[in-house]
């Protein structure tokens, strides 16, 4: 069977779609968990950074530096292979492959999102916060009612990019053999050797995923947009 001579996308898809779909499902699941987690991490740690909450702010800063300055592959390997082993009475940490999968991409996205949100919160004009304080909001209420909704909107475009990167990064999970879309496709390829078809389908599916993700978020952005930017 020679690649290129028998290029037949139709029969490739009809023979392998079930297997690939299962991989796609895992990609979506891991991405959803990681994006949701990155959103929460970003908002919480971004707030701590922007408001210079003692201790938490410094820890968040260290976390962001660590993640941004090391390759994500190393982070995945670290979580999978390098966490402390049980020694004597110490329990150690052993994570299963699924946990490592979503955790790794979430931690990565959370670090980038912390910076996105920090910048967003810091860009909220002081007069809005002053207005809230003057009306008798406490610090937490001011954050929830004013800084978060306004700063969150400011941070939205850059955090969309982070979410897209999180989605694409799930492909790297093949290094720990987590059977998401890319791993599944590579397995099909190993059996069928239909390399051209495999990567055509893989590319097309990722393209569709990223497009629909960004279209979805942009739709949300449009609905959240304040009148000035409409």
């Amino acid at each position: 069977m020679l690649v290129g001579i028998t290029y037949d996308l139709g029969s490739y898809v009809s023979e392998n779609w079930e297997f690939l779909l299962r991989g796609l499902g895992r990609t979506l699941l891991v991405s959803a968990i990681a994006i949701g987690g990155a959103l929460v991490i970003g908002a919480v740690l971004g707030a701590a950074r922007a408001h210079r909450v003692p201790v938490i702010s410094q820890l968040a800063s260290a976390y962001v530096e660590l993640i941004r300055n090391t390759p994500i592959l190393v982070q995945i390997f670290f979580l999978y292979f390098a966490l402390p082993q049980p020694i004597g009475p110490w329990p150690g940490v052993r994570l299963d492959v699924f946990t490592v999968a979503w955790l790794a991409v979430m931690i990565w996205g959370g670090a980038f999102n912390t910076e996105n949100f920090r910048a967003g919160f810091e860009a909220v004009p002081w007069r809005f916060r002053e207005g809230a304080l003057a009306l008798g909001f406490g610090r937490v209420a001011t954050f929830l009612n004013v800084t978060l909704p306004i700063g969150g909107r400011i941070a939205l475009p850059s955090s969309i990019n982070t979410y897209i990167a999180v989605l694409k990064n799930t492909a790297l999970l093949y290094v720990i053999s987590y059977e998401e879309l890319t791993t599944s496709a590579l397995q099909v390829n190993a059996l069928t050797l239909e390399t051209a078809e495999t990567f055509t389908v893989l590319g097309a599916v990722y393209l569709a995923l990223v497009w629909s993700l960004s279209a979805g978020i942009r739709g949300l952005e449009g609905r959240l947009a304040l009148p000035e930017s409409r």
């Binding site: 809005f128 002053e130 207005g131 304080l133 009306l135």
Partner: protein, 437 residues
Amino acid sequence: MTAGATSNGDSRALIRLENLSKRFPGQKQNAIDNLSLDIPEGEIVILVGPSGSGKTTTLRMINRLIEPTSGRIFLEGEDVTSVNGDKLRRRMGYVIQQIGLFPHMTIETNIATVPRMLGWDTKRIRTRVRELLDLVGMDPEVYAKRYPKELSGGQRQRVGVARALAADPPVLLMDEPFSAIDPITRARLQNEFLQLQTKIRKTIVFVTHDIDEAIKMGDRIAILDESSHVAQYDTPSTILAAPANAFVEDFIGAGASLKRLNLTHVADVHLLDWPTMPVSAERDSVRAALLRSDKGSVLLVDDARRPQRWVNAMDLEHGSIPLAESGLEAPVMQRTATLYDALNEMLNSLQGATAVVDENGAFCGVIDIETVAAAIRKMREEARLVYRGEGGSPREPALAGAERGGDGDVRGGSDFGGAAPGGGDDFGAAAAGGGDA
């Protein structure tokens, strides 16, 4: 310099500042230094002073957005220097320099902020929002669902005031609320705000760096020097007639006698009766009304007695033009406007007289250039007496035509004050000339 600050005023002090000082971290000098001030209930007290004198800091210490380094603050007799700041702030509406409406909330939600925080039910909040929008002269049907960006600067300012009033706090703190607005709109907002104050009677601390605005808006003015040292704390008329020192004199600037024109409100002078007719009336009955009066023109008003057109005998000759379009448009002046505003209006319009309206826009009389000119003549004579030391009391010279002259009623000022060319004498002469014409 705090001698005059704690006044022996008869009205009760709603807010009392006692030896208030503030030193910001890392600074050698006090930003506010030993400030004492009594703010009487129901009055507008203006803090005015050069940039950096500490006006905003003082205002923010009153609601403890900035904590004082030393000194005490009393509200309604209660020492609030160390009570819960968030709760304290709910008792004081605050309108800030750049308004600070929340851009992600509709006008309605913005105004409802404090009531929601206080846990009012939805229906009560709705009613209150509508009431407040009406109060500041904005149609709830049109504006409730809009976002701040969809309003003009003046409208946003009004919403800012409405939001500050939402839970009906006894105190209103305002930091240069009208400074970012064009002069014409500003004058109108000032007049509307004075009108509003006659209804709500709040205790208001109002910061400005514009002495003309201070004279117009204030029942009392505190002129602040560096570090909020009180250079003088008194009624506008006293400050104008008898500045306490060189700093105050300098701050008032040239044309102090002309600024006194701002102290008298249109409502305080004798308004002329004028023949009016409904704009829907027959041409002949308008002509008859004109013949019956000695005024030479008739003011046409609509059903709500709002002035529409000035018509004279000649206008009535043009039978082809409907009454509603004949003659001249009738500009109006609110009762809270000052003689200065009135003079300006008349110099700008073709009529030597302007219709005056009440808070509902209904006609209540006419002010003519003669009235203003007489006020100016009287004022200049008095000023001469005061400065030669011949006048009886320099503190409260009566103003021509002022029916009521008590402290509480004397207000003045206008945007145009600062722009008056060459001060009082030029302008007085111009007005007198206009009066003769």
